[in-house]
Structure formats: C-alpha cells, structure tokens
Amino acid sequence: MKYALLICDDETVSPSNEELADDPVHQAWVDDLERRGGKLVGVRLRPVVDATTVRVRDGETLVSDGPFAETKDFVGGFVIVECADLDEAIQIAAGHPYARWGGVEVRPVWE
C-alpha cells in the first residue's frame, strides 16, 4: 500500500536544510527509507510565511497570504512510500526527527 507521511510541526524549531542533513536522527531516517526501497516521492516544503492560498468563490479567484488551515501545526514536508501495511508506515513515521517535537500524519493514498 502507498502512504503519504505528512511531516508536521509548529515551525518554532525550524532547522535549516544543512542542520537537518547533519542531524544523525534524520540521517538514520533517510538511510532506513533507502534500505526499505519504498520511497516514491519526498520533498521538504518552505515555511508557511511563503504559502499562498487560492480559493474560487462565485467564479472569482481569491488569493490570500498564508496556509489554508489555521492550525497549530503545519505540513513541513511529505514523503510517499510503498509499505507492506500501516505498521510499517508507522515505523517509518516514528523514525523521523520531527516526530519528536511535532508529529507525522500517516495517510493512506487513495488508489
């Protein structure tokens, strides 16, 4: 099964790409994913200050600054992985450094 792992936090920690690359927990996570060979897509997103939300209402396009959802946590990146089952996806999610201060939402891909 395919799962999207949405890597979320409130952006207070906000490590740079270099810091993240140097983080041994992140390295272990990347290596583990590599070993499993199931990664299909994986990206890190820029922070929500760079987000733009687009809505269309009554035929009019409304563009606004910021993320769509007014929540405490924001999606900071995501991977799509092929896993045997939810338990494997949970295992991968638990290895991500953001799981220790933010959270990882595991969503099955609608196929």
Binding site: M1, Y3, A84, D85, L86, D87, A89, P108
Partner: protein, 402 residues
C-alpha cells in the same frame, strides 16, 4: 436427541468457538464482513444439522469447516472472488484436520485493539468479533444507541481495510506497548460490567472469558494472567459491593458471601503470573486485591504489604489515584497521622481537585482519628462532588453517624 440439548450445545459452542471461527475466516479471506456472515451461517447450519446428525465430537472444527466452505462458495460465485481465491491459494473444499486449523484469535485481538482505531471502536470490535455479542447487545452494555454502535463498527472495519491495519501479532519490539493496549480494552469491558447497570454480569463474564483466552495464548507473558487474576478477585466480591443501592465499603462487606472458588482461582492465577518474576501494573493490582480477598476478617488485612504494593504500583504506573489509595494503606499500617499527611500533600498538589474520593478519604481518616467536626466538613465537601446516587447515599449515611 432433544431440541433443548442441541440448543444448549450450540449456545456453548457459540460462546467458546465464535471468536475462533471468525478469526480463522478473516485469516483466510481478509474480509471481516464475509467472515462474520459465514460464521453466522455456520451456527445456523448447526441448529438444523446437529439435531439430525448429533453434536459433532469437535464442534469448533465442524463450525470452522462449515464457515470456511460457505466462504469458498460465496467467493466462487463472483469473478472478483474467484480471482481472490486463486491469490489466497485456499485449498479445495473439504474437511481440514483439527491440527490444520491454527488458533488465529491472537491476531484478531491485536488487530481489534490496534492503536490506530479510536478506543471506543476497539472495545466494540472486540466484543463483536471475539466475544460474538450482537450490535444491539454491545449498544445496550455500553449505553449507546444501536444505530450509533452499528456505525462505529462499520467505520472501524472500514479503517482496518482502507488504512491497511495488518492482521497479525505485533513483532517483539512493539509487543509491550501493543499488549498494554489490549489489556486496557479488556479491563474497560470488565469495569463497564462491574457497575450496577449490568446486573446480568454479561460484560464481566465476557471480559473474564477474553482474559482467559489471552492468558492461554500468551503463556510467557505475565500481565494477561495478572489481569485475569485481578478480574477474578474483583468478581468474587461483587455481590457484596452494594446493598439496597448503597455502596458498601470493603471494610463492611459480608466476607462470608465472597465467592471462595473465584478467590482461590484468582490467587492461583496470580501466583503463576508472579512466578515469571516480571511485575507489571495488573499483577500489582491483583496482588493488592488478593491481600483483601484472603483476609478472613477486616482486622487481619496485611496493610503494610498493601502499602508497599501501592508504592511499587505508583513507581510503575504513576497516578494520583494510586497515591490516594497508598495514603489509606499507610494510615492503616503506620497510623492515621502518617496517612493524613500524604492525603494533605495530594490535596495541596491540586491533582485531584474535584474528585470526590479525595475529601471522602480525608473524612474517613479524620473520623477514625476522632476529629468529628473536621470529618463532617470533609464529608459534606465529598457529598457535593459525588457522581452517583450510590455514592451519595453512602456518604450521607456516614455523615449521619457522626
């Protein structure tokens, strides 16, 4: 063979075999609804076949085979099902030997209690698929409407399918946490039935049955046995817990009415668990219950031992309620002032603000210490916070005695 005799045999088989028939069918087809339907059909077939042919020597094997053949027929009927059958490599129709049917209930119970399911759904699913309670029975027992309960079961089964929750016993590294989740579900089922609202004891009986199955399937794990022992020891005292709707405290329960057979089984079960030398929260709670259950009169209660068990429990599973119970045991073992000091510390911490047993416990200790005026004020405080009628009646009685 009389109809009553067969009816009783089918009822017994339903209680003992339902979970295993469903578990086997899910393992075979991966389809929870199909598994339940075919299990139901198998029991219906038993009702018509057994009066004619006699009750089979191994009712479980008969029922599993009947359900399995029914599933094969239904899958063969449509093209998608036939493809699935090839994929599953299910052997041809026939009578599997008894030893060919593995007990799949452990896989079923861990899947029902998977942490990705909402807690109430875990409880409902366990009662439906393992214990075989109907949706209406579960709704009644858990004080929910039947349509809401049906919806909860449908959603849970759908999530298992769509989110890919695996049908298996978790690997060793995940086992302690996952087992704790299973035990929590069984204990909730027991506690739900322990209240007054379930006079037929249906839920406590189901919980004990399930704990027995779990303990039997995981002989190397001490905590399932600890939970089973705890349930048995509580159940033994159940009849004496209330009198005419008024709560009766342990101290005043009629010990001659406790069920000695259940106490003996509970103590023996606890001893088996403790022999593995790996104490856990359920074993400790059972050990405390055993101290009470084996004291022939209140005065012979081993309070120092109970205080030390609560201390160990507080270390393994910290909770202010455990600290409160420990304070009572310390008061009984080392004198009221020592216990009262612990209660006052707890009150000062604010962790139990609004919990009626905090002032009720304080009141009780003050009363024992002869401080009637202070005890009265504390009972009045507890009375305002008490959640049930039985609690209020008990506290009012105490207040009037002062």
């Amino acid at each position: 063979m009389t109809g009553d005799h067969v009816r009783a045999a089918v009822d017994t088989a339903y209680r003992d075999e339902w979970g295993q028939v469903v578990a086997t069918l899910i393992a075979m087809t991966g389809d929870w609804d199909l598994a339940e339907d075919c299990a139901q059909d198998a029991f219906a077939a038993a009702l018509t076949t057994w009066p004619r042919d006699g009750v089979p020597r191994r009712p479980g094997a008969w029922l599993t085979t009947a359900a399995r053949n029914r599933a094969l027929d239904r899958l063969r009927r449509d093209a998608a099902g036939a493809a699935k059958l090839r994929e599953l490599a299910v052997p041809a129709r026939g009578e599997p030997a008894e030893e060919d049917i593995p007990d799949e209930r452990l896989r079923l119970i861990f899947t029902c209690c998977h942490p990705a399911l909402p807690f109430p759904a875990r409880v409902a699913l366990t009662l439906r698929t393992l214990a075989g309670l109907s949706t209406a029975e579960i709704a009644r027992a858990l004080l929910t409407g039947e349509p809401a309960m049906a919806q909860r079961l449908v959603r849970a089964k759908r999530k298992i399918q769509e989110a890919g929750i695996p049908y298996r016993v978790p690997p060793a590294e995940a086992l302690p946490q996952r087992l704790a989740a299973v035990l929590a579900v069984l204990y909730l089922i027991f506690n739900q039935g322990y209240g007054e609202e379930d006079p037929r004891r249906a839920l406590t009986a189901e919980a004990i049955r399930l704990a027995r199955v779990l303990a039997g399937l995981m002989p190397a794990e001490p905590e399932p046995r600890g939970l089973l022992a705890l349930m048995l020891l509580h159940e033994a005292r159940r009849a004496t817990r209330t009198e005419d709707g008024v709560l009766v405290t342990l101290e005043h329960q009629d010990r001659s009415r406790w069920d000695n057979a259940l106490i003996a089984e509970g103590v023996a079960t606890l001893d088996q668990a403790l022999a593995r030398r790996s104490a856990g929260p359920y074993q400790l709670q059972a050990a405390i219950a055993a101290c009470h259950a084996t004291a022939s009169v209140t005065a012979s209660t081993d309070w120092p031992q109970i205080a030390s068990l609560y201390g160990e429990l507080a270390r393994l599973a910290p909770s202010p309620v455990v600290d409160l119970n420990r304070a009572v045991a310390v008061a009984m073992a080392d004198g009221i002032p020592a216990g009262l000091a612990l209660v006052d510390d707890l009150a000062a911490s604010g962790q139990l603000t609004g919990y009626h047993l905090l002032p009720a416990t304080r009141a009780d200790l003050l009363r024992r210490d002869g401080r009637a005026a202070e005890a009265k004020a504390a009972y009045e405080e507890a009375l305002e916070l008490a959640p049930t009628e039985a609690d209020r009646r008990y506290l009012t009685g105490r207040l009037n005695e002062l």
